[in-house]
Amino acid sequence: MGGREANVVLLDENGIRSDGRKVNETRKVTIKAGVLKNASGSAYIEFGGNKILAGVFGPRDVHPKHMSNPDTGILRVRYHMEPFSVGERKKPAPSRREIEISKVIKEALEPAVMLEKFPRTAVDVFLEVLQADGGTRCAALDAASVALADAGIPMRDLVCACASGKAADALILDVNNEEDQAGQADMPIGYMPNLGKITLLQLDGVLTADEYKKCIELGLEGCKQVYEIQKNALREKYFSSGDKD
């Protein structure tokens, strides 16, 4: 999969990447829980250059009614990119890509949320990408998970996500936009750290079997780092004094 932008140096001779990171380093992540008043739960994440808002409603009545399930609740996720989130104006209507990511995030959250406790209801998750910089699906999933916990919806575990990949023949953690465009592989991973289960795994690119294994291990390391930040965000909201921990 050759590089499309040959002029970008993805990895220099000292093992430093185009944005100054080492190969096993994530971008700076900050999460804030409970930023929206009108949603049941909310979170704001800055994942490098990504800025994403997540709002959660519910469990609440399902409309249209025929979508409701008498045995369990349903989860609905809308991932949406703002027209100003990318360099050239994006049309606000949901694109193929956004519909796919909505589905993927929904399926990554479903194992964690205890929907069976709320039959005939829906939990709605809205994800608005204010600024995109590669790896939005992971960042959106991180924010969605914190927002769900903030809404008080019973969850088996938090879901944390981080991508790993391959660029300039080296395995890298947390693929940014340039590395995604010009790199060789991108693998977003969603992970439930306490249950040790992977809920999201995609791979765009080509990896050998050995690289694939290493890539997952690297990605899980990144997930665990993000998990600590997610925990701190919730702690900060509910325990700013921190005296009970």
């Binding site: 005939r120 008080g152 575990d157 938090l158 005296d243």
Partner: protein, 222 residues
Amino acid sequence: MSESQFVLPGDVIVTGDYRPEQNVMLDGNRLMSTAVGFSEIEDNLVTVTPLTGLYTPKTDDLVIGKIVSHNALSWEVDINSYYPGILTAFDIFGKDYSASRDDLSLKLNTCDVILARIANVGSRDPLLTIIGENLGKIDSGELVKISPTKIPRLLGKHKSMIQSIEESTNVTITVGQNGFIILKCDDSAGLQKAIASIKMIGMTHDDATLEEKVQNILDGNN
């Protein structure tokens, strides 16, 4: 070992031979929290008191609800829960209720506030009843909403907190387990103080200095 601990969904509270109670899940021999809250271990029961979320209906709880709508047979009541409360017409009109003769909106209309008891929580929406002492429509008072997870703290140990607020402000306070609270008082200054202290309890997350803070509000402007 009953020390309370701050937990998040997925956090392992304890491992071993314990029984999971409210908001706790068993995974092998690990007991994990499913909510943001405080964990507590008593004997071999593990519970987590949540800090966020809507009201979970329990049979025999007293709740304050707001009428949302009605159909021929029942009222739908907002009880700050995942499901609407249902108050049947038979509860008010008695057994000889007839949909063609009686008009539900004459008794309770949209936006009326009622004090009710949860009669039954089954697989369907929670059933309310207003048969009982002091239950029924609330005609006057101030409605304050706080998170239902803060109700135990508002009441305090053996209702000590709510009693101290009532005594120092002369306000009659009716607390619904679902987070809706009705305050009645002729003295507006006392009412304001009571509302301020209840709202403060609803906003505060750490509880170490809560009593002091409430006392400050109650003592202020005296």
